[in-house]
Subunit: 342 residues, 2 copies
């Protein structure tokens, strides 16, 4: 009962014409007589003929697939970026092959090498923690040397020359901290992650600069550094709030923010009156926390769309082999004011 996929060959045999004639007839070529074209097209429609994508890919040396490698998929920001990529890609006839590096250098390398052997026309990726820690980007460089376009987003590196999409991390952090200071806060703390995440570094820079520009001195004691996105570090956070004095906290992600807000509340602090909080990433956690969290919207959808747009532009211009020029697009984040700040 299996209706196996029909091919040009089947149509040709059935209609007693050649494969070339069928192919041309389906493309409405002028070469073919009206009669034959109608016959072939009718037959093709009847049997629901669709050309085989793999054969087309081989012939055209274009797969219409783009590879996306992200560190984590159960993560609000990355999923929004992914959604943006998928949306734009799909609208332009591309499919998305998704790989999760799981923050591991090795997985990132393996996935890239696998996909680089013809499966995709280009890559969009965000560096894994392992890769940033190791500072080894040879897999990226090799891919580029083979002429495969690559777009990095969010977690990027200066070590490789390619298109990039990043957030204005330092600026938005500056703005966020400034808004805390403007509201009267004097002792603004920072909760951040290990420094090999360059985005955290940029956010910390914005934080420091905002303090200095507004007559406050940077106090290393008011900086708490935690393992990435991990809340097993509860005791550290507890200790931080018990031993330090502060009236505002800027966090590099929403989990840190919401969790530490809870800790502070547990210690009897009023939010935002005693301590105000600002997070990063505008996910459901921020929207539904008590109080609702003031946070930085990263506009992942837009980031994804732009990354996809840049990549597809490169892919489709690959034939005109001019020396490629690379751009870095900066997405402007937005501070979403809610109830965890004054």
């Amino acid at each position: 009962m299996l209706k196996r996929k029909i091919t040009l060959k089947h149509i040709a045999k059935e209609l007693e014409v050649s494969i070339s004639t069928v192919s041309k007839a389906l493309k409405n070529s002028e070469e073919i007589s009206k009669d034959t074209k109608e016959k072939v097209q009718a037959f093709a429609k009847l049997y629901n003929y669709r050309p085989n994508n793999i054969a087309l890919s081989l012939k055209n040396k274009r797969t219409k697939n783009i590879g996306v490698i992200i560190p984590d998929i159960v993560h609000h920001f990355f999923t929004t970026v992914f959604r943006g990529i998928e949306k734009y890609a799909n609208a332009h006839g591309y499919n998305v092959i998704a790989c999760v590096s799981d923050e591991s250098f090795d997985k990132e390398v393996i996935n890239m090498e696998l996909l680089a052997n013809g499966s995709i026309d280009g890559f969009i990726m965000s560096l894994s923690a392992g890769t940033q820690e190791k500072n080894d980007f040879n897999h990226l460089k090799e891919v580029l040397e083979q002429g495969i376009p690559l777009v990095l987003f969010d977690r990027v590196t200066d070590e490789v020359e390619c298109d990039k999409v990043v957030l204005n991390d330092a600026e938005i952090a500056y703005e966020a901290v400034k808004s805390l200071i403007d509201s009267g806060k004097k002792k603004v703390a920072l909760i951040t992650t290990e420094s090999y995440f360059n985005v955290s570094t940029y956010r910390a820079e914005g934080y420091k600069k905002a303090l200095q520009d507004h007559g406050l001195t940077f106090d290393p004691n008011l900086v708490l550094t935690l393992p990435y996105d991990d809340v097993a570090s509860e005791p550290l956070i507890n200790e931080f709030f018990e031993t330090k004095e502060m009236d505002a906290v800027f966090c590099v992600n929403e989990i840190f923010a919401v969790f530490s807000m809870g800790v502070a509340q547990g210690l009897g602090y009023q939010v935002p009156e005693d301590i105000a909080f600002i997070g990063f990433t505008n996910g459901i956690l921020s929207r539904f926390s008590k109080p609702a969290l003031t946070t930085v919207a990263q506009h992942g959808d837009r980031m994804g769309e732009i990354a996809a747009k840049m990549l597809i532009a490169k892919v489709e211009n690959e034939n005109l082999e001019e020396e490629p020029t690379y751009r870095t697009e900066v997405i402007a984040a937005t501070l979403i004011k809610r109830d965890s700040t004054l």
Copy 2:
């Protein structure tokens, strides 16, 4: 400076042997002399030769890709399932092409048809809201008729015969509501979504049965039906809590639970003493809400892994064209007890 990918043809020309010889030499065929094999293998390693995936796919009629179509990607449950699929698939040499149907019937159909033309070896999917509402499954049936394996998960339908992975929705809902009753609650409300989501229907059934089995009568007034995952329905929820009397609420997702918990708290109710809450989906929202939400863990990772396992098994046994037999695997959910219940 472009190091274009090297092919068998290049190696053959360079070494002045035939393409067949190169191919065999790389596979360590006994047919080829030791000398030639060493020469070829050394050359291939030097130039980092990797066979072209597309060519292999065309030849083998196997792409080693599996297509995953989910309604939404910015969604905790679906991302965990996706992670499970990706993990298992990757470990078994498969890549995952991800498509988001965006809850739309049309997009689901388009994506399926696109991928069904040779791009993938099989599908894993969860039905979009549109498809469930329309009750049209011809795209699934056609794919099956073409001999492409399909595994449905979570949002499934009886209308199509294929492998399925589902949660024991009714049972776990029964258990959840029972636990509320056991703790002394007498008026348990239900907050659910439009009924064309069969999972919501099953959960509602478990809810009703638990009430009846424990001497409580089902009161339709204590059921609030909301649009899917949408919290624009805030006034409805407010009205619900203002006008009805209850001492516990069972919700079909975590957003409804956390949001309505906030509404109840705003009205002066103590959680869980005055009103207890149980949600569905064990996402970050549940973990970080105040109080932390008692909820149903759906074990998406496991669901994804099992779905991938079933699919790959079918794909790899496709050759032995016996009449396929279909299974429905039931994943046992777990009730995670936290602080929103007594």
